[in-house]
């Protein structure tokens, strides 16, 4: 009787270790770290021309579209500091004022951020900001 139990315990432990390993390696290679506008502007020289990600909210009234709705510029803010951003490409529907986005790209010498990717958060919250 005891032997049977051991068999199941061993099996269970193996599964737990396997899943733990999968989670660990999965997390290690798929976490995106990002900075806030304040952190970036505090040390511009460190970030200049390096590929980085910034997360912030789109400042109210700052979105400027060109006619074909593929080129746009906007301002990204964390409430304290603001970075102007330009972007070219398809923009998700959820992209609007106040929304939180993670953008990937490079900071240029004029302190403008040239975004190559908009990792807009999915609309986890279809709510009004009150």
């Amino acid at each position: 009787m005891k032997k049977k139990k051991t068999k199941f315990i061993v099996g269970g432990v193996i599964i737990i270790i396997a899943v733990g390993y999968l989670i660990f390696t999965g997390l290690r290679s798929n976490i995106i770290y990002y900075y806030t506008p304040t952190e970036v502007l505090a040390k511009v020289e460190d970030f200049y021309d390096k590929g980085i990600r910034i997360k912030g909210n789109i400042e109210d009234g700052s979105i400027v579209w060109n006619d074909n709705k593929l080129d746009l510029s906007f301002k990204l803010t964390d409430g304290k500091q603001t970075i102007p951003v330009t972007y070219h490409g398809v923009v998700p529907d959820t992209f609007k004022y106040g929304v939180e986005v993670v953008i990937e790209g490079k900071l240029a010498a004029d302190h403008t951020f040239y975004a190559t990717k908009l990792l807009a958060k999915c609309p986890s919250k279809y709510e009004v900001e009150t």
């Binding site: 049977k4 899943v19 798929n30 990002y34 398809v90 609007k96 986890s124 279809y126 709510e127």
Partner: protein, 650 residues
Amino acid sequence: MIELGSYSLYLCFIITAYAAVTSLLGVALKERRMMDSAEAATYGIFGLLTITSAALLYAFVTDNFEIKYVYYYSDKALPMFYKVTAFWAGQEGSILLWAWLLALFSVLVVIQNRHANRELMPYVTAVLMVTCLFFVAIMVFVTPPFEALFFMPPDGKGLNPLLQNPGMIWHPPSLYLGYVGYTIPFAFAIAALCTGKLDDTWIKTTRRWSLFSWLLLGAGIVLGGQWAYVELGWGGYWAWDPVENASFMPWLVGTAYMHSVMIQEKKDMLKVWNMVLIVLTFALCIFGTFITRSGIISSVHSFGESSLGPIFMAFLSLILIVSAVLLVLRWDMLKSENELDSLLSRESTFLYNNLILVAMCLVVFVGTVWPFVSEMARGDKSTVTAVYFDTINVPIGLALLILVGICPLIAWRKTSVQNLKRSFLLPTSISLIGGILLFWAGIRQGYPLVSFVFCIFVVVTIFTEFYRGTNARRETTAENALVALGRLISKNKRRYGGYIVHIGIVLLYIGITGSGAYKIEKEVSVSEGEEFHIGDYTLKYERFSQYPTQSKVVNVAIVPVFKDGKQIDTLTPEKNVHFKHPDQPVSEVSIHWNLKEDLYLILAGFDVGGQASFKVVINPLMVWLWIGGIVMALGCIVAIWPDKKRQRVA
């Protein structure tokens, strides 16, 4: 209306508090009259919450913008359909919906069990009333739905255009029905722990409630995917967003529970495990409501600021601590004399299924809360990408799929190698032949090939089950094949309903595999009259049209689709600007679908009379995902369907 709504809510709070306290006191003092009084109070609570909900609904329908909630989620031009559904567009209304459903279910449980489970019922009532009190208290103290502005605005701010989709009437209520429904088996589990009546009475009594909750939660998830697919316009249906994960996790654990209770009923084992599963399911339902309603998971700061965060956390901790303490106190009684006989028995396949489902849930949970935990612990800011969830869940999901096929092939208790060989022969050979054909046809990537081969394996084993059962009936009853099949299912609804659900799962996997592994997407920028190609399709951007409606400006591209030189359809993707939300253009995707694939077209950008940009996607086998969802729902309904001669289980 504001007065009626808020007074009935206050009154409801008093009665719910009364019901919670008397039911707890009743069981503590063993005072029958107090227990009965608490049960009777559920009717009052349901009545009052119905009045409260009706008042809020009336406020929406009559454009009473003096109420803040109505002001923020509706406006005059909103079609009546969306005015009604705006009820649950925000936090206040969602919580009211939760509470109302819980009150409704409580009344149903009280009626169902008026002559049954008299020992369990006082505790069940206590759990239900404490939960109800939690939600009513939130509405009274934290997010009052009837909070008034001090003036009457001429018009409301309008409903978020993304929520103006027919999915709005089905998706959220379906999820909530599932979340709330799981309160019932949880309440009976706690009652069983308290009374020490730890046989399978509580499981049998709530079997239909758990199936019902599982069905509605699953349907809600699939409907949410469908909504995202047609409304959010990025070409996919699932993005491992925290809100999606929040509904997926209780469903996974609920699925594990649904399987493992069968082992308790059959072999009187896994008692502790079943308790753990139902407690986890319910806790994850509360967690899900909490993530959806507060959106806090993305940042520690919004958690601190959100008034709801700490309250939900406190309630969650209460659930977990009370359940854990009860489990420990009853540990000796929950021990089972029986043991699993062999690693190769049907029982063990149930166990593996459970481990896999819980592991999947753990993977999703870690990925969902990681940014939150890591910011709390180390102060760095991060997000976990969808790649994490995909890379881990795909192999785990495939293991789960093959188990679905293996399970019916293995006998209960113990299987001899001889038996195994015989029963595996047919499905293995057919799926191997299928695999070779698929490889020959060009399916050569590892995971998709494995997935399709497993799908064939499962289908063969399930059809064999149906075939054997039908044949056995025909031999003894001389019925024709169809009658025999029908009677076979109706005599064993639970078993064959389950098999039908499994067929649905296979279809779901086919859809996920096809659209996941063989998706083609392309972004193009073309002028009027210009053509572009994707797959076998030729699309022509014929013209652009712009016209205003009552609530928005419609921008639509007319795009005929050709295949083999013949026009087969005309797609009309739109990008509309709602007057109330000019900064948020809303895409209406246009889809040409058949059983083989979806051609999915998004109007990404445009110049009036000039260029337009499109994103065009081919999602192979996409429609099978939705069909799979429907088949699963049907199978589950078969399993829930009452037998003709109603035995009084409840």
